[in-house]
């Protein structure tokens, strides 16, 4: 692959990004869920997680799933708008 200036500058920035982040993460470890208040919905890892997980998603996030169905419809319409060809012109 061609070694040019953009490659080198990009690699330096990426490594710098990761180094800064590792520094921050080691100084102040991430306070996971420190501010969480509700713990009643957690599932035990020893039980059968699969069906319970999807049951949780359908009862609480049903609205979001219907919205995602419309996103898929819009993506199909977008692909149609860009790639459809008018080969057979129906004459009226």
């Amino acid at each position: 692959m061609r070694i040019n200036a953009v490659l080198i500058v990009g690699s330096i920035f990426t490594v710098l990004f990761i180094v800064v982040f590792v520094f921050i993460a080691s100084q102040t470890p991430f306070p996971a869920f420190k501010y969480a208040t509700q713990t009643s919905q957690y599932l035990n890892t020893t039980s059968n997680i699969g069906p319970e997980d999807s049951q949780f998603m359908w009862t609480n996030y049903g609205l979001t799933l219907i919205a995602q169905a419309f996103v898929l419809l819009a993506a199909a319409a977008a692909a149609l708008a860009m790639l459809r060809t008018n080969d057979k012109e129906d004459s009226e």
């Binding site: 996971a32 501010y35 208040t37 419809l73 319409a77």
Partner: protein
């Protein structure tokens, strides 16, 4: 399901490809336009009844208000934003009945416009960050396809590719920020986040704030994340330019305001100056670069960047007056910039040229279009009898009240600077026509003329009698600031 306006829009979106089967080819575009206009009007009527309910109750929650569920929350701010979405969408739909040719692809155009508007309505109605993200993606995907709709022109495709890459990178960055917030708080509803973070200032909160600001700021065209905007807004079809410039940009500003005033309210002292400096940068860069342009639509696109800078001034101030100014500026900018882009599109449609020097004197041949264009350009500068003056006055007053007078002075300077290129446009179209192509130009067709005139009537009316809109915006802004009058 969802609330009634959103339901109506989504159902009409799902039905509209059927138009392509049942209509003959020669007026497919007009029937599609009528269908979309019916959808938007019925949704507007449903919105009015929702407004009555919200002004009594304060806020409506759809399917519960728990910390772990996805739900919709309708309050005064949402209804304020949706009213302008539906209004501008209706104008753009009636305009595109004449603008989009009849082909087998025109029903898909109306499907995509309806899905973009329903995505925007979903964004302002959502009560937690993840529902907001899903509707954000709905709006974004429709807009990427709409910019590339006239696919025979190379400039539309190139602009759409640039817009898509930068826009999706922004959405993914925002998703990363949302995941950091989830890790900190365990919940993603706005009210849950507001109560979880009161009084804390962890470094991880700052990092999440940076990611979310950069992610949603890409769509709001904040400098230095604005590089997609001049290409996308100038190469898209004119109705799509009007919709993108008018309301899609404002949705980015809305999401930033909503997130930063609920989840990051505890670190306000740190990010108010940052947003103030970014708004300064945005205003100056937008106005100065617009002075150097020769293409009409590109000049209007750069002025949109400057207007976003004005909107950020209100967020940087942070009081209720400042937020009233922001949302009022968004409302007025949608009307003014929408009508400016539609007029520019009418001129370009009749003349088939885009450079300003090829349009000399076109105002003499297309008088109604020229008058409406002048009205919207005067309103964009901020002259008194039009509505741009009211919102800029509110913003400047709020900066003086909050001891940030340098922002107010910068805003006045920028309004004066922007007058330079707006007046240049008016001067060019009002001279004597000398070119052959200009002298043969005819007035715009009736279906394109009606929405332009309607928008101009609203610009003048809200400038002379601003009280209902200002009080509406004040109630809307009061939902974000704690203790504001609702």
């Amino acid at each position: 399901m969802f609330t009634l306006p959103l339901d109506i829009l989504l159902i009409f979106t799902a039905i509209s490809p059927v138009i392509g089967w049942v209509t003959p080819k020669y007026n497919r575009s007009k029937i599609g336009g009528v269908f979309s206009a019916i959808a938007l009007s019925v949704s507007g009527i449903a919105l009015y009844s929702l407004y009555k309910e919200v002004s009594v109750k304060g806020a409506i929650y759809v399917t519960g208000n728990s910390l772990i569920a996805g739900y919709l929350k309708v309050d005064m701010l949402s209804i304020f934003m949706v009213s302008i979405f539906l209004g501008l969408g209706l104008a753009a739909t009636i305009y595109s009945m004449e603008y989009v040719e009849n082909s087998s692809r025109s029903p898909i155009y109306y499907t995509l416009i309806l899905s973009m508007i329903s995505g925007m309505v979903g964004i302002v109605f959502s009560g937690d960050l993840f529902t907001l993200y899903v509707f954000w993606e709905l709006m974004s995907i429709s807009s990427y396809a709409l910019v590339a709709f006239f696919r025979e022109k190379w400039e539309s495709v190139e602009a759409s590719l640039k817009y898509l890459i930068i826009g999706v990178a922004g959405s993914a960055t925002a998703l990363f920020g949302i995941s950091l917030l989830y890790g900190l708080a365990g919940t993603l509803s706005f009210e849950g986040l507001a109560t979880a973070f009161t009084g804390t200032a962890n470094i991880w909160l700052y990092i999440a704030a940076i990611f979310i600001f950069v992610g949603f700021g890409v769509k709001a065209a904040i400098v230095p994340l604005h590089t997609w905007l001049p290409d996308a807004h100038s190469s898209a079809p004119s109705t799509i330019s009007a919709l993108l410039s008018g309301i899609v940009i404002g949705t980015g500003v809305f999401v930033i305001a909503r997130t930063f005033f609920s989840a990051f309210a505890s670190i306000q002292e740190q990010w108010f100056p940052v947003i103030a400096i970014l708004s300064l940068l945005t205003m100056f860069l937008g106005n100065i670069t617009a002075l150097l342009q020769t293409d009409l639509k590109r000049m209007l696109a750069y002025s949109s960047i400057a207007q976003v800078g004005y909107m950020l001034v209100g967020i940087a101030v942070g009081t209720q007056t400042g937020l009233t100014g922001t949302f009022l500026q968004f409302f007025n900018h949608a009307l003014m910039k929408g009508s400016a882009f539609l007029c520019a599109g009418a001129i370009i449609h009749q003349l088939s040229v885009r450079e300003l020097k090829d349009m000399v004197g076109v105002g003499r041949r297309m008088p109604i279009t020229a008058v409406v264009f002048s009205i919207s350009l005067f309103a964009l500068i901020g002259l008194p009898p039009f509505n741009g003056f009211i919102s800029e006055l509110t913003l400047v007053t709020s900066t003086f009240q909050a001891n940030m007078a340098w922002l107010g002075v910068a805003l006045i300077l920028n309004a004066a600077l922007s007058a330079a290129y707006y007046l240049q446009i008016i001067r060019v179209i009002m001279q004597k026509p000398t070119l052959e192509s200009v002298q043969k130009a005819k007035e715009t067709p009736l279906l394109m003329l009606i929405p332009i005139c309607a928008l101009a009537v609203f610009i003048v009316a809200f400038g002379i009698w601003p009280d209902p809109i200002v009080s509406f915006a004040q109630h809307a802004a009061g939902t974000l600031v704690p203790g504001g009058l609702l």
